[in-house]
């Protein structure tokens, strides 16, 4: 008869138990990875991040809200810039609230003529029209987007994937 030492069999049993545990653990991780990974899309069927918004002449001097793109287009003389209309707090669309007349303001060492303020409906955040948050819970200034002229037909092109500084102006 083969004699098996008890401590030997114990360690073998312990080893097999550990092995089973590890195999189960690894199996669960490996098995659930495809299930989870399939839910992270590789292709977004979403509107393009770069789009034409119209000829520069079509915009009168002042502030225009492009509702389907949720952004504000500013024109002053021949200078254009685009500010995002998405509140940096929790993503609601801000509203533009114009002053009766423009006033000169200095915000974060940047002096300019201000036409109004942005107000957010959801939690009461407020922004100067150059984007800086000054009241409410918004943690960051509104984004500024790259503006270009289309070489084909001269339309204004907004690129929301590319942010720019608040001294950016496209002069047409």
């Amino acid at each position: 008869m083969n004699e098996v030492k008890p401590e030997n069999s114990e360690s073998r049993r312990g080893f097999l138990r550990k092995l089973t545990g590890w195999l189960l653990g690894v199996g669960v991780v490996v098995g659930s990875w495809p299930l989870l990974r399939a839910l992270i899309p590789n292709v977004h069927y979403e509107p393009p991040k770069r789009f034409k918004v119209g000829m520069p002449e079509a915009f009168t001097p002042g502030v225009h809200f492009l509702d389907e793109h949720r952004l504000f287009l500013f024109r002053k003389d021949n200078a254009f810039h685009a500010v995002s209309g998405v509140c940096t707090h929790l993503g609601c669309t801000v509203k533009f609230s114009p002053f009766n007349q423009d006033k000169e303001m200095t915000v974060r060492k940047f002096t300019y003529l201000s036409a109004g303020e942005f107000h957010c409906a959801c939690h009461g955040s407020r922004f100067h029209d150059e984007g800086t948050n000054f009241a409410g819970p918004a943690p960051r200034p509104l984004k500024w987007f790259q503006l270009e002229l289309s070489p084909e037909d001269g339309q204004l092109v907004v690129d929301v994937a590319q942010e720019v500084d608040r001294d950016f102006r496209l002069v047409v």
């Binding site: 839910l39 929790l90 669309t93 959801c122 939690h123 819970p137």
Partner: protein, 498 residues
Amino acid sequence: MSLLPKKGFWDRLLWTWRPQTDREAGEAVVANFLLHWFPNRVTLKSLAVRYSLYLGTVLMVLFGILTLTGVVLMFLYVPSVERAYWGIKDLDYAVSFGWFLRRVHRISAHLMVAAVFLHMFRVFLTGSYKKGSAVGSNRPFNWVLGVVLLILTLFLSFTGYLLPWDQLAFWAITVGTNIAASVPLVGEQIREFLLGGTLVGQNTLIRFYVLHVVFLPLALFGVAIWHMWRIRKDGGLAVVEQLRDENRETAPEPPEKTKTWSVLGIASGASVTVMDPSTIREEDAVPSSPFLTTRLVAVTAVTLIVVMLLSIFVAAPLEQPANPEVTPNPAKAPWYFLGLQELVGYSALIGGVVIPGIVLLGLALIPYLDREQRRIGYWFTDKPGKRWGAIGALWGLLWTVGCLAFGIRFPMRSLFPNIESQLFFDLINPASLLLLSFVILYFLVLKITSSTRTAAIATFCAFIVAFILLTWTGTMLRGPNWEFFWPWQPWPTHPIPF
């Protein structure tokens, strides 16, 4: 307690089966599949309405109503961004009783959230999360399961109100997923995983639909079954501990003298008696069937009637179709999230992630922080418990009103116009101040009374008051642009189109 015999004509007509003896009642519980859910006998104390308020039963009935109406609604609803809204419109105007199904489903969901909170308040205030003396009891763990059920219920209602795809739905999801995005480091990835993209769209709708109709109900059902199975394992409702305490106080009766015929003749001695004080005495309990079962039927009937009546009188609103371009002003979540929305109004990170996280973690840890085992199953435990509960409620009232008033009168960014650091405003704001006041309250009461239970009661009462006040403020006192208005102040109209 003796069983009432079946007597007159009405008894026979209304009740076809009534056991004549305890034994018959017990056998019925064992033999019947539906009845074996219940223990054979149940204590009179745990049948009392003023102890449990039957909120667990109400919740189970509401979940049943929601499942039943939900399955029918699934046949009538298509989770697509083009058709979802018009499907709901059809329910209201084209489907026979569609309006009724929708109202019943919505009202039951609201009641379920309310009942979950009330049930939690009840279990906490009666100290029913404590282990007690029954063998194999693990009530602390059952409390944790309850917290999981609370979270699942909130997620179910959150995913549910996206489905109509109206303005409320769209902006609630926008705000909700952006709260998830404020988690440091991985927030943006979590948001994209929830949305199935970078925008709220078709991918989001189908995700929330599957969560709402399959994943979350199954999870809730499973955990709820576990929750109820544990009640049996824990030796019944915690109020039973009162009986065990009484048994311990009364001196055990001396064993009776007996005479037994043995091989050696008549042997005299004492009979075998069980001295275990945890055994429930015969006279304190009654058979589950019919005493518990009839009460359950009554609670079910009352819940059904209330839901039906409310559904007839309370309309289920449907806002305009989802429009990503225009945020309604004010944009409000349903009432049970408005306390959270009020806090999120100070800081998305603190109000939306840190405070709910700490509150849920704190709730789950209550039975492990407070391990005192005295006077289980009494409302507010004892006299000092009641007094400190009232003090805690007052503390919660003062601090919540104070923090709200401070936040409204002195917005942080106006107080510190020169500070640009977002971290500063995340850390120092009325919401974190309120959280801090609760921590102070807990340790203050703990220091004075050196009782974790009393400290927990004070903090919990403060929490209840804060929850109600914040919810009320968010619901009634916030107007356009989330500005503060008294109930008698009219809201301004906004003439500006954008």
